[in-house]
């Protein structure tokens, strides 16, 4: 049975383009123009993944509200924010509401598709027992590439997909400096330097919440970042 992706996007052309791409990839796609339509549909059947724009028709923050409601319906349902808004505040708000990723619309369809696949893979992996060979261990850090899950001293660190990929790219070769472009490539995103910086900051904060002495993610000024064991 085909997985169902719900696209909540008030721009019809864009919605149709995304729908076409996902249909081509073998997904079932439902498009909704606003929150009411989407909620009505979700009431009868939850999709397997939801892609939500923040501003929906006459609700400039409608996406956030929808995300909250959706998260209330299902804790595991992968949710991606896909928006033209790229402000730090929006990203923070979106991820705090439980979204699995926050993407801006300059992302190519191929990249978007990769994310969707990755998220489904994570969902699948979470349902299966851990397989040790997929694990990447760096001191207290354990990265499960299959589930896209990070652990620090055995505690799960809740990272968004982009954040996970950044940590993964850095931790795979500890001590190697990864510049911003490399991190963007790894995370399949096109972002500017400031967004990378804020992503890194957010990652540090999440680790520091678990371990105040966390210092593994270092900035190499003018070059990029590296993971230190």
């Amino acid at each position: 049975m085909k997985r169902l992706i719900a696209i909540v996007e008030d721009e019809a052309a864009l919605r149709d383009n995304y729908a076409a791409a996902f249909t081509r990839d073998g997904f079932a796609v439902r498009g909704y123009a606003n929150r009411a339509q989407a909620l009505a549909a979700f009431g009868t059947r939850l999709p397997d993944l939801a892609i939500i724009d923040i501003s929906l028709e006459d609700e400039p923050e409608g996406g956030f509200e929808l995300c909250r409601q959706l998260r209330a319906m299902s804790a595991e349902l992968p949710i991606i924010f896909l928006t033209a808004r790229d402000s730090e505040l929006d990203a923070v708000s979106g991820l705090r509401l439980g979204a699995d990723d926050f993407l801006t619309k300059d992302l190519s369809l191929a990249h978007l598709s990769a994310r969707v696949h990755a998220l489904f893979r994570r969902v699948d992996a979470l349902r299966q027992p851990e397989s040790a060979e997929e694990l990447l261990r760096r001191g207290p850090l354990t990265l499960d590439a299959e589930r896209m899950q990070a652990q620090w001293d055995g505690q799960v660190v809740l990272l968004s997909l982009t954040e996970f990929w950044i940590v993964h790219a850095l931790a795979r070769h500890p001590g190697h400096v990864r510049n911003r472009q490399q991190l963007m490539d790894a995370a399949s995103v096109v972002l500017d330097d400031n967004t990378i910086t804020s992503h890194v900051k957010r990652i540090r904060r999440k680790f520091q919440a678990l371990d105040p002495r966390f210092d593994a993610l270092q900035t190499v000024y003018g070059m990029g970042y590296r993971w230190v064991e």
């Binding site: 052309a13 864009l14 402000s87 619309k105 369809l109 500017d192 330097d193 000024y221 003018g222």
Partner: protein, 672 residues
């Protein structure tokens, strides 16, 4: 010309006030003068009226003889004589001057008043004539006799004055006494010097003698045309008539040529002596005031008596010499007489005949002094007024200028800073300047709105364009999966390239907004600038292989409290800029200076110098000065971001040309 100077000049215009005051003072002077003239006329008429019919006061009545006091005859005779006294004088009448001082009896006329018309001449023929000047002073009659004589002849010295053979030139004086009796004395001299008069008396037996009349004194001096005799006769000796007869002899003992105002046969007087009463002068004196001169004249015009106090100073205070001379110079009307005169006739008791005239003279001193006084007060007031006006205007001008300067500096700083000031001075003022300030303020507020709109425009535009661009790009992505021909694929590729470029532009446009956000969320940590700069420069060496990078860093640590990420971003922008504006292979120097309160980061690059007009605007939003032909998208945000970050660190950014003009140095000062 500054506003201050203009208003000062305007204030000086109040100096017209003193000028107007002077004009007014002149008018006032005229009025005063007229008033004074009127009052003087009144005074003279009053005094004249008081003298009306007082011939006894005007003219001298002969002294009544003590032994004949009871006789009515001399009274009537005196009455008779005085009744005629004011008649027009005949050729034989003598009208003495009223002298102001007694002449010295020395036979010289230099101490007499110089009045050619006061001389009375007697002429017998071309060779025989004399002239008389007479005057009265203190009850004495003074006579100056100028005799024309081709052969002046003295009496033979040591001879009998009665021996006709010894006679030289001789002068007879004849006069009557109070009783009307005729008396004669003669004056002769044996040489120059003082002379005395002698009277000829016949004794009981016919013997004649010539005793000296001691009351009459005189002096005889030779003169250019003959001789001169100066005489003094007490008026008490003289009645109403007086005469002079000159006996001119060409040789001693020869028959004389007699001529004069005495009958030559019996030496009886022919003319009158018209003299003022001795009471007249004291009488006039009682009316005298400083600056006033009173004179009573006979109908013929001869002054009988005068009281003169013209020169006596008035009690009014004098002006300071400087002011007085100024007034003389600028206010007094040139050529105007400085005295007022008024004449009033004195009538007899019946108001029928004029017995004399009173002349009152007043110096201008009095009203000029009054005028000067008024002028000084007026000048003081107007000058004080002018001074106050000038000072007030100057103060006002200074105040205005100050306010204008405040406005100016406020508008200047409002325009130079990109963050426009919203508070503007003087907007509370209720005058026109306040209106100007308010409209300025409104204008600036609108400009502010406009500028902030422009500043956010890029971000908004980027946001708005993103959705349609995403539609294009996702459509292109979808199209990739569709079967299209080779030719169509080429177009597809171009469309994709175009959309990628558009995307890059959008990213650049939103950069400033994101930096502002980043600054808003930045956390401050204390870190060492030296390794940061060192690693950053090392990174630039890798990133820009076409340039040489030199880092001049201090040996010790330079700790700074701030956001290292932002500092790196600032450096990125500076280096981007330096690379863009420097030729290939150029050396870019990154320098760090440690200052007491700040850290100074300098980035130097060789290249074209900054145009003059860009200084100060370089760090504004949306401003750029780049050579044409640069195909990469630029929105003039790079150095604006530098400024934002510098300001976040309590510092400032500045760009200057290198001293030798070979390049540009951008310096960023960060507060420590």
């Amino acid at each position: 010309m500054s506003l201050r100077l203009k208003l000062l000049l305007l204030g000086l215009a109040t100096l017209v006030l003193p000028w107007g005051g002077c004009r007014y003072a002149r008018e006032m002077e005229s009025a005063l003068r007229e008033g004074e003239a009127n009052s003087l006329q009144a005074v003279s008429q009053t005094i004249a009226a008081s003298l009306q019919g007082r011939t006894d006061l005007l003219y001298r009545a002969p002294p009544p003889p003590a032994e004949a006091a009871d006789e009515p005859q001399p009274d009537s005779g005196a009455q008779q004589a005085t009744a005629q006294a004011f008649d027009k004088p005949g050729p034989d009448d003598l009208e003495p001057l009223a002298l102001t001082a007694a002449p010295l009896l020395d036979g010289y006329g230099d101490d007499w008043p110089h009045q050619p018309d006061a001389w009375t001449g007697f002429k017998k023929d071309e060779h025989h004539h004399f002239a008389v000047l007479s005057g009265v002073y203190e009850r004495m009659l003074y006579v100056l006799l100028e005799v024309n004589d081709e052969h002046p002849l003295y009496d033979a010295p040591g001879t009998n004055t009665l021996d006709a053979a010894t006679f030289g030139d001789r002068v007879w004086l004849g006069f009557d006494d109070a009783q009307g009796e005729q008396h004669q004395v003669f004056i002769s001299a044996t040489g120059p010097g003082s002379v005395s008069a002698r009277r000829i008396e016949s004794g009981e037996y016919g013997q004649r003698s010539a005793p000296v009349e001691p009351r009459i004194r005189g002096a005889w001096q030779p003169s250019r045309d003959g001789y001169r005799i100066e005489l003094r006769v007490p008026l008490s000796m003289i009645g109403h008539s007086f005469g002079i007869l000159v006996d001119d002899r060409d040789a001693r003992g020869a028959a004389p040529v007699s001529y004069g105002t005495l009958r030559s046969d019996d030496l009886h007087t022919l003319g009158r002596l018209i003299v003022a009463s001795p009471e007249l002068s004291p009488y006039l004196t009682q009316f005298l005031q400083p600056g006033l001169k009173l004179a009573v004249s006979s109908p013929a015009g001869r002054v009988l008596a005068r009281a003169d106090a013209l020169a006596r100073p008035l009690t009014l205070g004098r002006e300071t010499p400087v002011l007085a001379s100024l007034y003389r110079r600028f206010v007094d009307r040139p050529g105007e007489r400085q005295v007022l005169e008024s004449t009033a006739p004195i009538y007899d008791r019946d108001h029928a005949a004029v017995i004399g005239s009173l002349e009152v003279t007043q110096t201008a001193d009095r009203w000029i002094r009054l005028r000067d006084h008024a002028l000084t007060r007026m000048l003081t007031f107007t000058l004080a007024t002018s001074l106050v006006a000038v000072v007030a205007m100057f103060a006002f001008a200074a105040w205005l200028a100050l306010r204008l300067a405040r406005l100016r500096s406020a508008s200047e700083s409002a325009l130079t800073r990109s963050g426009l000031v919203t508070s503007f001075p003087e907007t509370e003022a209720r005058d026109e300047l306040g209106d100007v300030a308010r409209s300025f303020s409104t204008l600036l507020a609108r400009l502010n709105e406009y500028t902030s709109y422009l500043r956010t425009l890029a971000g908004k535009l980027a946001h708005e364009i993103r959705t349609p661009l995403t539609i294009v790009r996702s459509s292109l992505d979808n199209l990739d999966s569709e079967p299209v021909g080779e030719e169509a694929r080429a177009y597809l590729t171009r469309a994709r390239q175009g959309s990628e470029r558009l995307n890059a532009i959008l990213l650049a446009m939103g950069a400033a907004t994101r930096v502002e956000e980043a600054i808003g969320g930045a956390e401050r940590v204390t870190f060492d600038l030296v390794p940061l700069l060192g690693s950053a420069v090392a990174a630039y060496r890798g990133a820009f292989p076409g340039r040489e990078f030199l880092a001049e860093l201090p040996p010790g640590p330079v700790s700074l409290n701030g956001a290292p990420d932002l500092i790196v971003q600032l450096l990125d922008k500076l280096i981007d800029n330096a690379v863009d504006f420097s030729p290939a292979g150029a050396r870019i120097t990154v320098r760090l200076h440690l200052e007491p309160q700040a850290a100074l980061i300098e980035v130097e690059n060789p290249g074209p110098p900054l145009p003059l007009h860009v200084e100060g605007r370089l760090f504004e939003s949306l401003w750029q000065s780049r050579p044409d032909g640069d195909s990469r998208p630029h929105f003039g945000l790079g150095l604006y971001i530098v400024r934002l970050i510098a300001e976040f660190h309590g510092g400032e950014a500045a760009a200057r040309n290198l001293e030798d003009g070979s390049g540009v140095r951008v310096s960023v000062r960060l507060a420590r």
